[in-house]
């Protein structure tokens, strides 16, 4: 058992247990934290495969930016885990849960079966890579030649999402403004009444 295997086993265990904790913990903030733990462990796995850039970007983008937003939203909504999420389950809900879990399980088994017993993938295929595999240069080259079209499409998708978010928040602001003015009118009315009385 060499150092690589030990690192793999430890980080794989951390990744899986982080993911399990994410869905099983009742406290949403702790869920976010275990997801971050899982992501960091996954980054270690990527780095071990030689994909240094992907590993670093996984931490920068997911752990460093997206999960901060998750945490921010959870904190703003002030979810403290006291709510009994999913305790009041009716038979219909319960049966749906079991059905979906079964489907996922079957899918999982099927994927593993296909992956392991296909026969043409030798073990240790991960180590057979070129010299600059996973480096910034090779990733950039692929991104800007073979995969340029999907890359640009993704950026357009993200842009439209941003614009959509801005539009929605603007509309909300306009609505609350009218609400506020209505309240102000009411306030002035009541004041006048007070003065009259």
């Amino acid at each position: 058992m060499n150092l690589d295997t030990i690192i793999f086993i430890v980080s794989a265990l951390v990744a899986v247990s982080g993911a399990t904790m994410m869905i099983s913990l009742r406290n949403p903030v702790l869920s976010v934290m275990s997801m971050i733990l899982s992501l960091v462990a996954q980054a270690v796995l990527y780095i071990q495969l030689g994909a240094l850039f992907v590993g670093a970007v996984l931490i920068i983008v997911y752990s460093g930016a997206i999960m901060v937003l998750f945490l921010f939203v959870i904190m703003l909504l002030n979810l403290r885990g006291s709510e009994d999420l999913g305790r009041q389950s009716s038979p219909i809900k319960m049966s749906t849960k079991i059905l979906f879990s079964l489907m996922l399980f079957v899918e999982f088994v099927f994927v593993i079966k296909v992956g392991f017993f296909k026969g043409d993938i030798p073990l240790g295929v991960m180590s057979q890579t070129t010299d600059n595999f996973g480096s910034v240069e090779s990733v950039a080259e692929l991104l800007f030649t073979n995969y340029l079209y999907p890359f640009e499409l993704t950026s357009v998708l993200l842009l439209s999402a941003i614009v959509g978010a801005v539009v929605m928040s603007k509309r909300d602001a306009a609505e609350t403004k009218t609400d506020e003015s209505a309240v102000a009118v009411k306030d002035s009315d009541s004041k006048e009444q007070v003065v009259e009385s």
């Binding site: 960091v40 901060v68 904190m75 910034v136």
Partner: protein
Amino acid sequence: MLEMIIISSIKVIIVVIAVLTGCAYSTYMERKVVGHMQHRIGPSYAGPFGLLQPLADGVKLIFKEEIIPDNIEKTTYLLAPAISFIPAILTFAVIPFGKDTSFFGFDIPMVLSDLNIGILFVFAVTSLGIYGIVLAGWSSTSKYSMMGAIRSSAQMISYEVGYGLSIIGVILIANTLSLRELIELQMGPLWGTITFLPNWYIFSQPLGFILFLTCAIAETNRSPFDMAEAESELVAGYHTEYSSMKFSMFFIGEYANMIAVSSVGATLFFGGWHGPFLESFPMLSVFYFVAKVIMFMFFYIWLRATFPRFRYDQLMNFGWKVLFPLALLNTMVTAYFVIL
């Protein structure tokens, strides 16, 4: 193999001790410098020139009573100081602090780990530091802490973009992400022609440097961007409910972050350990590096003594409407010249 492990362990221990001592004496330097800027003399009782003051502070903080409030989220409350402290220390894993040297016949590279994505590592690790602040604020169940945490996460999200973009110019010119190669590229005369100036990237990237410095101050939550712990509005911000050693963990974390950012700035824009007379005295390189870091730290303290705090909305506006477009512009112009 065993030799390598022993040498690395010794280096790690030396670096961690050096960083912690640096943190302790940064507090001394801060109090002394701010004191003199305000026509006071600063700490002067403990030892000559008050040099033992950090030691006295440390002892005081350890022996203070530790108060843990009742209605807190225990797990995250206890984890938060460690989470804010560890990423700050981790940054030093990739920063080269001297010219490679040999000691008792062993070749010793003066960097803990020479990653070829060094800068990305630094940014990945520093982006994790915010969780300590956010969790501290959230788990304290106190309004002031919560406000501090929300402010700091909003601030981090806004400034991380500019922070990342501000160094893209340097990366474009250098065409590498390895900090060791970046320092090697900054040796020699400026642009290969001007002999009396070194080829430091501050000369090629002045705008990039200013953006980096501004965003770095916002990233480390220092004055004038210290909204997260604005003591005149929020008591102490996110660490209001912490006491004793837990409080000092945040304190050390903040200073370690400042030293880390200063080291990154010195490496990217001021040639790292590069300086004159290195051929005859290679150990001077460590001195040059430390001197450059101290220069950055002095600048931090100078700013704190000079500028009033930004208002919260001004801060956000400044980040998105001034720094971000300027960083984009800097990237575009640099890319244009690199392609030429």
